[in-house]
Subunit: 236 residues, 2 copies
DNA sequence: CGTAATCTTGACGTTTTTTTTACGTTCTCT
DNA sequence: AGAGAACGTAAAAAAAACGTCAAGATTACG
């Protein structure tokens, strides 16, 4: 179950470079490295790595420009390596599109943790963004976003406009608690009264159509004082 | 793979000072020391150490003021060294921004463990500020800050608003002692009654849901007279 | 123009949470 | 060992949050 992700390291200091390459290899990553920015960019374009570790203090090019260059054609996660004296550059790097940063000197465990996190985030995004989910399925409920149709156990059930908005917003964030406020501002706009009475009435109506026993919901759960949570989509 | 972190010790008793310096050096730390508060502050500013060990009973300045002074310009972890008779000062020190405390007399292994923990936390925090950690994981417990969901051994467990606030605050400061006062003012606001009766009731309820044996907690420990401490996040 | 559907508001009973109260247990220090 | 403080726990009281019903207001549409 080893990841075998491919990592590209762009680092000009020989010692640090060797250290990181060794660490990564012993953690079962495939590693490539470049000792300056220009060859790093070539390798990035050629190899399509799963993650890039980039030192900001390269001799031949400004690190920020390297990030911008990469971001022109790829969303590969970039973790920036910076010295303690480069506080300002760190912020610029993140603004330019870096995903995370790590400050020299750093420990191996910290480095590995950051890499794991970045990779996890990116694989999730890759799988979520491209084949956009156009259906929500859970138990007897199917929401077809394209056709704008909701069926329960095969039967088409009609929901009003507002009910549909609430339902789809919860469905598209299935498994997540959605606060009353965010739900209200999503449905009624940002200037709506943040009192949730209307929401309560609508939720009662939704549940009357959706749940066989509204008092013991199977699809939408109340997190008292916070908001609502819909059960996870079974399609994922 | 030795860290080579730099530690500053501020301690007026010669014997203890020598003992600690020797211990730290033999554990591969770079050590600096001061025998009074004012020279300690100068060294702290000049040397930018990775961690400060501060005795509370200094002759020339109140230890609390030393902490406040440092916290004005640095987040360097501070571990306070206190005598058993300085219970009140310990709490004040933690509220003033100290990260942990150790009571004289102490053993080397205890000291080293606390230093390791504090250093690890600080390097992580330094780098994590922007891309915030979105999960806490320890043993069977997972707190998903984004989804606002807590699972124990895979099962979703419901916590009330207040319980959730307490739990997440402790989790986000995992490994660190959180005083009753700071916990209360974080949950109930700065003007809340600083009596911790309500906190005790809530903690009992949290533990009933969280711990298999609430009388022998695995996740949240009581530091009698001071506050609570949650076990370290395993994700970092 | 009128009817039906939808949306909003107010009222009220129920459930859940929060706080208070009370008391037993553990810990600390003399 | 024992007194006093700190802590944990249970149960009751108070407060808040939620779900539901019904009536009024608005909109959609024939």
């Amino acid at each position: 179950m080893s990841p075998k992700h491919e990592i590209l390291l762009i680092e000009d200091e020989r010692n640090i470079c060797n250290f990181i390459v060794t660490t990564l290899k012993s953690n079962d990553y495939k590693v490539n490295y470049a000792l300056n920015a220009s060859s790093g960019l070539s390798l990035a374009a050629a190899g399509c790595p799963d993650l890039i570790l980039l030192d900001l203090g390269l001799p031949d090019m400004d690190g920020i420009d390297v990030i911008r260059n990469i971001r022109n054609w790829s969303n590969v996660p970039i973790i920036v390596i910076s010295a303690r004296t480069q506080e300002k550059e760190k912020v610029e790097a993140l603004d330019a599109g870096a995903d995370d940063y790590i400050t020299k000197p750093f420990g191996t465990s910290e480095l590995m943790a950051r890499i794991r996190t970045a990779l996890r985030r990116s694989t999730i995004n890759n799988n979520m963004l491209l084949p956009t989910q156009n259906q929500y399925v859970a138990k007897d409920l199917v929401i077809d976003y394209e056709k704008h149709i909701i069926t329960i156990a095969g039967n088409i059930v009609h929901f009003t406009q507002i009910e549909y908005k609430i339902l789809t917003y919860l469905a598209q964030n299935a498994g997540k608690v959605i606060t009353y406020d965010s739900l209200i501002s999503h449905v009624w706009g940002p200037f709506a009264d943040s009192n949730n009475r209307i929401l309560r009435v609508n939720m009662a109506n939704i549940r009357r159509k959706l749940e066989s026993n509204p008092a013991d919901p199977q699809y939408i759960f109340t997190e008292i004082g916070i908001g609502y949570r819909m059960i996870d989509n079974e399609n994922l």
